[in-house]
């Protein structure tokens, strides 16, 4: 499934270089430019929540309305997502969570699909 935005090479390189530059600036920010100046504590607190603020939202629409089924909720994918979260929270292990999620997804697609 070739994607338009990737077939358009100028667009693709804009994303690669733009994202690369912006990400580097985030990494370089304090270390390189700002140094040890006072940073508001509340801002630091907010930054610590970026992983759980961005990633669940990034994933959620694809879990509830997967493109592969034309946006129809799909029991196998919903179940796989729930098992991944449950195993991840229970065992505190990314590897175990991926393994369980993929296993449930394959079983579900095979059994329910």
């Amino acid at each position: 499934m070739p994607v338009e935005a990737i077939a358009d090479k100028s667009l693709l390189w804009t994303v690669i270089l733009g994202l690369g530059a912006a990400t580097f600036l985030l990494r370089f920010s304090f270390l390189g430019l700002i140094g040890n100046r006072l940073i508001p504590g509340f801002l630091l607190k907010m930054l610590r929540y970026t992983p759980m603020a961005m990633i669940p939202g990034l994933v959620a629409p694809g879990v509830v309305w997967p493109a592969a089924t034309g946006g129809e909720p799909d029991p196998a994918r919903l179940l796989a997502a729930m098992v991944t979260i449950a195993v991840g929270i229970w065992f505190r292990s990314t590897l175990a969570a991926v393994g369980a999620g993929v296993a449930v997804l394959l079983l579900g697609l095979w059994g329910l699909g």
Binding site: Y49, T50, P51, G57, V64, I85
Partner: protein, 242 residues
């Protein structure tokens, strides 16, 4: 060799300790890097372009986010903005590293910043706290020992996935391996109420704002989630203090 590098090269034992310390963390790097290579080429990138992505950006979650948004046909500025937002935590890593590595020369700080990923932050910060007697040369040798296997394998795994990805059977549900991997990354680090609240606001907010064009509701929901987490944490602190 520039004179600022010589003291670092005298710290070979620390470099080797760090290599060993990083090993368990490479277990996740290889499948994620390979998956990125497979998906990138399956969606039309050349091996060179997939490699450029991993070398220039060197931040897995944001690379997958960019890939997904390109697939959705979002405008280029929104793709860059959203994928960059996934990396906002790196500004916090930068803050945390400054007291330890901030006195290195500018060019070395630029190199350190380029390699500042989750693992170099976690393993770096933890060890620097444990070894307050370490001078800059020791800290830099440790850092180099951590990022060599982590980042080296990230490039190598991307290349392997991009090169051999066509061998993956087409009926595999690759579309859903990325969401599963993302959830598997986040679930184990949901330790506090505030973190769970942030995740819940992120999910609820994005779904409620899905009518906004090109998943721009995600950024609004993420900002709300970060605020919710930080406010909850502040309230908990006040409760314990009182």
């Amino acid at each position: 060799m520039p004179p600022s590098l010589a003291p670092i090269f005298r710290q070979a034992p620390i470099f080797r300790q760090a290599l060993l310390r990083a090993m368990p963390f490479t277990v996740m790097i290889v499948p994620f890097g390979a998956l990125f290579g497979v998906l990138a080429t399956a969606q039309g990138m050349s091996v060179f372009e997939a490699m450029a992505f991993s070398v220039v950006v060197i931040a897995g979650a944001s690379q997958f986010a960019a890939l997904q948004m390109m697939q959705d046909g979002a405008p280029v500025l929104l793709i860059i903005l959203t994928a960059t937002a996934v990396n906002l935590r790196m500004a916090m890593y930068s803050v945390a590293m400054t007291p330890h590595l901030g006195m290195a020369p500018l060019w070395q700080r630029a190199v350190i910043a380029y390699f500042l990923v989750d693992q170099s932050f976690v393993l770096g910060a933890a060890e620097y706290e444990r070894r307050p007697e370490w001078q800059l040369a020791e800290k830099l040798a440790w850092y180099a020992g951590i990022v060599t296997p982590i980042c080296g394998l990230w490039y190598l795994a991307t290349w392997m996935g991009a090169t051999f990805g066509k061998a993956v059977p087409p009926h595999w549900p690759l579309d859903f391996i990325v969401p599963v991997s993302f959830l598997a990354m986040i679930a184990p680090i949901l330790l506090t109420r505030a973190q769970m609240l942030a995740a819940a606001v992120s999910v609820g907010g994005t779904l409620a704002l899905w009518w906004m064009p090109h998943s721009s509701g995600l950024l609004v929901a993420a900002l709300a989630a970060m605020l919710a987490g930080a406010i909850w944490e502040t309230r908990e602190e006040a409760r314990h203090a009182g």
